[in-house]
Amino acid sequence: MTETNPAGFEIRDYLRLDLMPHFMCPGCGHGIALRALLWAVHELGIEKDELAIVSGIGCSGRVGGYIDANTYHVTHGRPLAFATGLKLARPDLKVIVITGDGDCLAIGGNHLIHACRRNLDLTCLMLNNEVYGMTGGQVSPTTAETRLTTTTPAGNTEPAFDACQLAEAAGAGLVGREVTMQTPALRNLIKQGLEYPGFSFLEVISDCTEIYGRKNDLGESAEMVLSQKSDMRPEAYGNVADQPFRPNRLLTGVLARNERPEYGETYRRHADGVANGGKAGA
């Protein structure tokens, strides 16, 4: 009927129901992101048997386990590297990486840079809640300056990453960001990422109410998701918003496209060339 109608999308069809309710804290935005992901998977008609979810360590790492698919919960920071092996060995699979700001940008930062550079057909969903939630709320690479965490008792003094700029500069094929409150828009962004034949990096601004929100007096979950929305500026507004009315805010939407060849295809073409007696790259 309308664009936002789920058209037969029943999230229960994609969940491991015997594990529900999931273990995330009340009001954790990761659940909203999971809905948007599964909604996108549904709308694209991706078969669960062909879907592989690779996640690392932390709250984000536990999200994948609730999906009724082939799920891998690997070592801290390494889901992109694991997924690279999986996708190269099994190009027939749809491989999605679910990671967090610490998993992806700190301990796994190198893997992110090179996954962007390589442009293998993976979709990386980075759930950014600005904190190490699982370990009790330590400062992360995306924690805003001055924020209180258990390891920045007087306020964070380190600058934060703009993960999307990092991914764009490293060559990711498609880069985007969305807040959880714009669930249909987040679903659309994830769909674009899943459909993109190459590496897509999607940052989801998620909320950690129980630890980060409470420590920094950011309100309850509803207030946090609302303020995340008002802190962001749709990319479609373009440079209008570079004017004073919302300065220094992060953009949402598709933020960058680098039209580059998908790595798996490139490798297989070169390998075929070698196998047929030519030189690699011939």
Binding site: R16, E50, T75, R78, A81, G85, L86, A89, H270, V274
Partner: protein, 379 residues
């Protein structure tokens, strides 16, 4: 590479053994003295429809190997000491999640950056205990170029059969040694393929039968299982229930015990009446072989026990070999690592001594021969 005689470096023999074993995925990172394995794999894999990728670091290459293996493809990586250290976290994941994989570690002088171009045998204990927590694994120590080739094939067979990481430990000397070897004809090898789940509704990814080894599944087979480094129950999902954890960890840690016959490989030379038994592996065993022969020529009842499987250690075989011995000598290119295991096994019966070198030079036969004479005289 076609069958027949060939002159090969140890590193190239490793690569060709892997291809022959059915390895179709290699992820690696350049490191001396193992880089030739990656280089050879980058040329060989495209010829057999496989995939080579040079990852951004040692950690990533181990993770990518696990990803590819989880996808159902026989996979390996190769490295040396510093890289071996970095790979340990994902070796632990391989043990825990029971993802088959092969790791070639061409040992060089350590610790830290150490002596990159000089040989050592100093990663023996790291191979066993490098990753945190109790975990099952197999380590093999070939002593020649031919044996590198054959043990690499065997490493894949063991890994696929028992779902453990298998390490092939050799050193810079054999890695860069050129020796003639006979390559087997394609199809002449006994290759082990992973046991796949058969599509039963009641399939549990970590429930094993009598052999202790669960059948595996890969994406697309329809089972849609969960694989995690967390302690998990038979269904693959995390658990902290003490009874369940005891049950699943007992199986995991004990799963190799009943397969010792298949896993443990060793060689005995003149051990039946040996009063001085030399226990040596890898390149040091070649020196020991000559030293033992020289001792015999001088009338000393010396013998050599050469474990090819280092972990799990062929304990019973050593006991048998050391039955007559009054003393045991363990020459190794480290400050004394495998000697600890030999002491554990033999200490009640015999005197155990080490012969160690950490200067980046191989142990010479004359060194061992001298010690054999000393030990024989002491008895």
């Amino acid at each position: 590479m076609t069958a027949g005689m060939a002159n090969l470096h140890g590193n190239h023999a490793c690569a060709l053994g892997a291809i022959a074993a059915g390895c179709r995925f290699f992820a690696g990172y350049p490191i001396t003295p193992s880089s030739e394995i990656a280089e050879r794999m980058s040329r060989e894999l495209p010829l057999v429809g496989g995939t080579f990728v040079q990852m951004e670091d040692e950690i990533a290459s181990m993770a990518a190997v696990l990803g590819a293996s989880a996808g159902g493809v026989k996979s390996m990586t190769a490295t040396s000491g510093p890289g071996f250290s970095l790979k340990q976290e994902n070796i632990g994941l391989a043990s825990m999640a029971e993802i088959p994989c092969v790791i070639a570690n061409v040992m060089r002088g350590g610790p830290s950056t150490g002596m990159p171009t000089r040989p050592a045998q100093s990663d023996i204990m790291q191979a066993r205990w490098g990753s945190h927590g109790d975990h099952p694994l197999i380590a093999l120590a070939p002593a020649s170029v031919k044996e590198i080739h054959d043990q690499t094939i065997r490493a894949f067979n063991l890994s696929e059969r028992y779902r453990v990481p298998v390490m092939v430990l050799f050193d810079q000397v054999i890695a860069h040694l050129l020796e003639p070897i006979e390559l087997p004809a394609a199809g002449s090898l006994d290759l082990v393929e992973r046991r796949w789940a058969n599509g039963d509704d009641g399939y549990q990814p970590y429930a094993a039968g009598a052999d202790g080894i669960p059948a595996m599944t890969r994406p697309g087979d329809g089972h849609r299982t969960h694989t995690t480094g967390l302690t998990h129950a038979e269904d693959g999902f995390p658990t902290q229930d003490p009874d369940t954890v005891t049950r699943v960890m007992d199986r995991l840690l004990g799963k190799l015990d009943q397969h010792g016959q298949d896993i443990e490989a060793f060689e005995c030379h003149d051990t039946k009446d040996a009063e001085v038994l030399v226990v040596a592996y890898g390149i040091s065993a070649r020196a020991a072989r000559r030293a033992v022969r020289q001792a015999r020529e001088r009338g000393i009842a010396a013998g050599l026990f050469r474990p090819i499987t280092l972990w799990p250690f062929p304990e019973q075989a050593l006991r048998t070999a050391a039955d007559q011995a009054r003393s045991v000598l363990v020459p190794e290119m480290n400050a004394g690592q495998l000697v600890l295991e030999v002491e554990r096994i033999c200490r009640d019966e015999v005197r155990v001594a080490g012969l160690n070198r950490v200067d980046g030079q191989p142990i010479e036969p004359s060194q061992i021969a001298r010690r054999i004479e000393e030990m024989a005289a002491d008895d």
